[in-house]
Structure formats: C-alpha cells, structure tokens
Subunit: 422 residues, 2 copies
C-alpha cells in the first residue's frame, strides 16, 4: 500500500503556531484549576465497547471509532455483525471514562473528589470547517458533593480561567432540569412528550418565541398547552433580572415545582455574584436545555457574544456512578470548549506572552570544529540563563531562513562566520 502524506480524514496535524497557543492555554487552565483544588487525572483513550454503548452518550454513540479484536479473539469467518468483531472503541467524551475511573478507584481518592481531565476524544462526525474527528476536551468535575457548593466552585473556577485567557463580558447561562420539567408539566404536556418539547425549545435562540410556537403546533401538541407554555416564556422575557424571573416562575408554577430548586438557583447566583473575580454575568435562562440525557439537576453553559454559540457547559449528573457501582454518587461537571477557545484566540491574532527571548545562532557552513564547540558552549550558557537558543547552520538563502525563524518567534539573530573571532 502506498504511503499517505495527509492525516486520516477529519483529523489534523497541529502546526507550531497553533501548538504554541494550545500549550499556553493548557498551562493557564491547569494552573487555574489547580488553584481551586482540582487534581489532574488521565484515563486510557480506549474504553470497552460496553461502556461506550450504554445509551448515556446519546448521538455520540453512533460516532464511535471501534477497535478490532486481536489474535485468536477475532473470528472473522464466524462474525455476523459488527459487535462480534470489536471489543473496544475510542472514547467520545471524558465523562464516561471519568465515571468509570471514579467507580474503579474511589477508595484511593479523597471525598469529595475534584478531578481535572484534559485529553483527546474521537467522533466519526461528518468532517466540516473547524470541526475535527479528534479534538481536545477539558473537563472539571466534583464527585461526592451533594450541595450546590459544587456548582458554585465549578462556575468560579471556569470563569476565572476564561478571564485569565483574556475573555471579558461573556455570560454563563444557568437552568435546572427540574424547572424545565415543571414548566412542561404545568402547561399540561404529558411526560412522554417532554423530550421532544425540549428539543424544540432548544431552538429558541435561533427561531424565537414564534418559531417555537409554530413548531410545537405543527408537531400536533394541544394549542392550550402550547399557549400556556409560551405565556411562561413571554412572562420571563419581561422579567428585569434573575430574581424577578425566578420569583415569577415560583408564583406561576406553584406546586409543580419544588421550591428548593428555585432557592438553589438563587443561592448559586448570589454566591457567584458575591465572590467572582472575573467579569461576566450569570444569567438564569429557562430556555437552556443541554442535550445529554444524563443530567439530573442544574445545567449551565458558557455563552460568548463574539462566537454566537456555546463555548462549553455542564451540569449535575447524580445517577451515572450508580450505573457502574449500584450506588449513586452526587456528581457535577463543567467542560470548557477547548477547541472553540483556541479558534477564537487564533482568529483574534492572540500572541502568547513571552517565555524569554528566542535567539538564533546561525553558523556559516565549513566552520572550524573548535569554533563550533565554542559557539555551542555559548549557547549552553545562555540556555542555562533561561534563553531559548537555536544553533543551526546558515542555509544558502539566509534571508529566507531568517524570515521563517521570525515567523516562529525568533527576534534576535547572531551570525557566525568561519573567520569570526569567537
């Protein structure tokens, strides 16, 4: 088979300029999350196929890169369907591996456990601009904390990180799945209809109130329910702030909602507003849905005006550990949209703050041996002083060589000639 120069379909080579930004962003993320007491962990890229096919992954389960069994276990002639051929797959997110990791290692971990996981995930999605089949996710999670201290710390840690990366005036939207459900129940929808209603509601930011109303009616829902439902959202649109919106819902929904859920949201918003150091607004948004079915309570999302879409999000998922161990453990996470952040920074011409000077020593070819050694010795001394020193032979087209190096961030050049005094 002929060798292939290109990366496999949908995956990419990361060139030095992007890599520099990625390394910098990763450093900021790690340092900031560490300051909040999060501990880095790592899980294998490969998970058993059973863990990736348990219906918690939603649509992502259709996009798994599956791994062929090996050796005697591969029985090609007897294989009837795909599942007979595979025993593992590349993880499509970091949540399934985290929950497996926690289930496997809880005895060796502090309680509550605050985990930071940065790693590649793989999805065999249709390739499109800015979307790749291998990409980096960056998740923080708190396991074993039932109180909303978890939500508060996750939101503070994430927003402090975004602030350190230079993002200002973004929003964190927050909601609770209990509220979402209370609103449809109050409006008279049946439980079997909830998920479909939420899928339509999720389009509110694109199609507006009227679009949602039209879609619901076209899908055959009772006009009475649709009107009642839309009236809630109209009422919320008139609320002047978070407190007004939440008290409007509390009054309207009455017994349909557990008052503690509303009090919980109020408490999170108040705590974050009082303690945040970053510049952002935490906004209650009753249209926020978040797709994954595993969420059980609070949900939230980063909204960046310059991106016009979510740049990360998360929520509470108290039932996932129980799927592995039989005992539920409270769990709550927040994922930063690492690739979107890199894209935004690159689009804005972001320059990584200097890490010491980058200097290139360019030696004429045919330099006497003793002079080469003297030049290398100088380089060694400068490196020990924290400078970045490239020692290279000058190319024939030295001007072009210097241009290439300037593009890599080299700001100073020292030319050495065979007849130089060194």
């Amino acid at each position: 088979m002929a060798l292939v120069k290109k990366p496999v379909t949908g995956m990419k080579d990361i060139l030095p300029a992007e890599m520099e930004i990625r390394d910098y962003v990763m450093g900021v993320i790690k340092d900031t999350y560490r300051a909040f007491g999060f501990t880095p962990i790592e899980t294998p890229a490969v998970e058993s196929i059973a863990n990736l096919s348990n219906k918690q992954g939603g649509e992502n389960e259709k996009l798994i890169f599956k791994i062929l069994k090996r050796g005697e276990k591969l029985k090609l002639a007897e294989a009837k369907e795909e599942i007979d051929l595979v025993d593992g797959g590349l993880r499509y997110d970091l949540t399934v591996p985290l929950v497996r990791y926690y289930s496997n290692n809880a005895n060796d971990l502090p309680n509550p456990f605050k985990a930071l996981q940065i790693g590649s995930v793989w999805r065999a999605d249709r390739p499109q601009k800015g979307r790749y089949r291998q990409f980096t996710q960056c998740d923080i999670d708190i396991l074993g904390e039932a109180s909303n201290l978890a939500e508060k710390e996750l939101i503070l840690a994430t927003t402090t990180t975004l602030d350190k990366l230079g993002f200002k005036n973004f929003q964190i939207k927050i909601n609770d799945r209990a509220l979402l459900k209370a609103m449809v129940a109050y409006s008279g929808f049946e439980e079997a209809q909830y998920d479909e209603v939420f899928i339509i509601l999720d389009k509110m930011d694109k199609i507006g109130l009227e679009g949602v109303e039209k879609d619901l009616l076209e899908n055959g829902y009772a006009a009475e329910s649709v009107n009642k439902y839309l009236d809630l959202y109209k009422g919320l649109a008139d609320a002047k702030d978070n407190a007004a919106a939440l008290s409007f819902l509390k009054e309207k929904l009455g017994d349909f909602v557990d008052e503690e859920k509303i009090a919980g949201l109020e408490e999170i918003i108040e705590a974050v507003d009082e303690t945040k150091t970053a510049k952002f607004d935490l906004v209650f948004d009753a249209t926020l849905v978040r797709g994954m079915s595993y969420y059980t309570g609070t949900i939230y999302e980063i909204y960046m005006p310059e991106f016009g879409a979510a740049c990360g999000g998360g929520g509470r998922y108290d039932n996932m550990v129980g799927n592995f161990t039989g005992n539920n453990v409270p769990a709550c996470g927040f994922s930063i949209g690492f690739e979107r952040i890199i894209m935004l920074l690159m689009d804005n011409g972001f320059k990584v703050p200097g890490k010491g000077e980058k200097i290139a020593y360019l030696m004429e070819k045919k330099m006497p041996k003793n002079k080469v050694n003297a030049i290398m010795k100088m380089a060694q001394e400068e490196r020990a002083n924290g400078k970045q020193i490239l020692v290279a032979q000058a190319n024939k087209n030295k001007k072009f060589q210097k241009e290439q190096l300037m593009a890599q961030g080299y700001t100073e050049f020292v030319d050495f000639y065979a007849d130089s005094d060194i």
Copy 2:
C-alpha cells in the same frame, strides 16, 4: 452489555500522585527542549493503515490496534481478511507520524526543523508488570540537518533534561551502523547474515563475549569469522577510552570502514564533552545495535545504572522522508523513555517541588449562606495570590478526610464552624 469498571486490558488509570509527577516531568522536558529551539507539534492518534504497515515499524507492526471502517465502507459480508475491515490504526510510535507530518507540511516549517512531540502510543503487547498497551513517548527530532550538529544538539538537549530531572552519572552509549557493518564485513560474514549477527551481538550485555561466541557458532557461522569478530570486541574491551577504542578500530578495519564515520563519532564525542553541562559519560560502544531497521548512521542510547537497561535512545534515519515524498531528507532523533523515567522517579519516592501552598478550607455542614459566601471570597483572594485553596464541606469523619487530603499534598487546614466569626 454490563458496564466495566476496570480499564481495558493492559491500559491504566493514572491516579493523582503519579499524575502530579508526570505533569512535572512533562513541564521540565518541554521547557528544556524549548531552550534548545525545539518546537512542539501534535499529530493524530490514528494513522492510515498503509502508513503503519510499511515494514519500517518492525515487530511493532504486529501489535497495532486497528480501527474498523465505518458506515457504507464497512462491507462485513464481503470481507475475506482483516485488511478488508480496517482503514486506520492507533500509532505505535511517534516517528512514523512525525515523518508523515514533515512530508505533509515541510513548506510551512523552518529548515532545519526541530520538532518536539510528546504523546500516547499504543501497542497490543502481552501485558506485563510496568508495561502498558498505552504509554507516553517523548521524541525530539531534527529534520533537514545533514551534519552531526544534529547529533550533538540532540544529545546535549536530552542529557540537560535528564540532569534537570535529577539523574546523575548515567551514560550515553554511541555507535554508528556503518561501523557495525564494517566490523561484520571485515570478519567475513556475508551481507545476508548481518541482521542475524546483530541480533546476537545485541545480547552482549546479558550473555557476555563467550555467550555471543557460543550463539554465533551454534547458528552455524564459520569459526574463522566468529573468531575474527570476537577478537575485535576483545581488543575494544582492552581500550582505555573512547579515543583508544576508535583508533583501534580505524587501524584494524582499514578499508572496510569510511574514515569519515570514525572522525564523525570522534567529533560528536569531543563536542559534547566540551560543551555539556550535565554529569554523564558519552561512551563509544561497538556492541550497541538499536533494533529498528530504519537507522542509517549514528545510533545512541541512554543507559542508567540504577535501571540496568536503556531509558531511551535514537539515531539517524536519512531515508524515511523519501518513502513519503520520493526525496530523502536528513533526519535524526532522540527519544526519552518517558514511562521508565516516571517509574524510576516513583520508585525513588520523588517529590514534586512545591507549586505554592495547598490549603483546605473545611466548612461545617449547615453553614449559614452568608458565611459560605464570605469563606469563598477569602478563598478567591488567596487563589489570586497563587495559593491552592480547596473549599469543601467537612465530612463526618473529618480526621480521615484530612488524612486523605494530606496524601494529596495539603499541608494546612482551616476549620470553619457555623458559629465561627467570619
């Protein structure tokens, strides 16, 4: 299918204590290599199956985790053999992906190009203690540099890194495949026999001169050749230093060896000895083989007495880019045995140098809301001052909680009670 708590066979979850050391070592490696002008790059974990099966990977090609074709491309009923089912695989090293990357992107890269690549690789090896099916490799390579400036810089950069990680009194063994070949040619072996002779020679450190002699004779090689060959190694064993060993070979091998090859080794050794800042010996070792068939010139290996085995190595491979592009490009690399280094550090009870204090704020449950916010505000201020602050609720067994946290490096605890003045 039931969920599986364990990682897949042969792969591992990395617990916080090891993760801390890994992150630290990775930081030292990146900073040191950057000071030498190496540029981080990243390639996808998945490579096309053609690139992984081109016979350059030796035994590793038998250990590939293969990836099933997806969608319409998977024709299970028509598939006759494995290759009909797969289109990619997980990379088994970082060299094949680097060479593909360079072939694909050379126009956008400076010349010479000094690359640093740290990443996971996968091999479906038989699981055994300390050896995993997913592990991290850490390679530096210089592409486009034909002179031995490449070897010198690679050896200096690698040894400076090892020194910064606290390793002292290790050895770098160096040889040249041209010398290896000259020695067998001089002894009268035939070219078709070279590789098998090298496999036996490679066992010298385990079975000694007599063992090698016995093995060669048992494999049916002419006693005359074997004696002549072994006499060379006996002569080298008597040489008091690198210079004596190399001049012994120059004299013995005569026209069988290109004098420039010997002069090249002498030059590398002299330059490194004169410019090194780390404590180590660069030793010419005519028994050094290095398995991979793609090496074309100099080869070298890190030898750590406390490990009793190689902790990394590399060499020159001038023909690999040509396999992709038709035009050869000089190339030379050095790989640090990342996992072995982590294992050595952990076995020695290595402690990561402090990154600022780790302090845990433990709050009594049922803390009034306004006091929780005040405590979080204090934490925010301390984090802004570079401290690591964990805010958590005190567990019922607070003593055990503190022990767990001490194991995670927390040295200070602040207890907050509901009736505390805050």
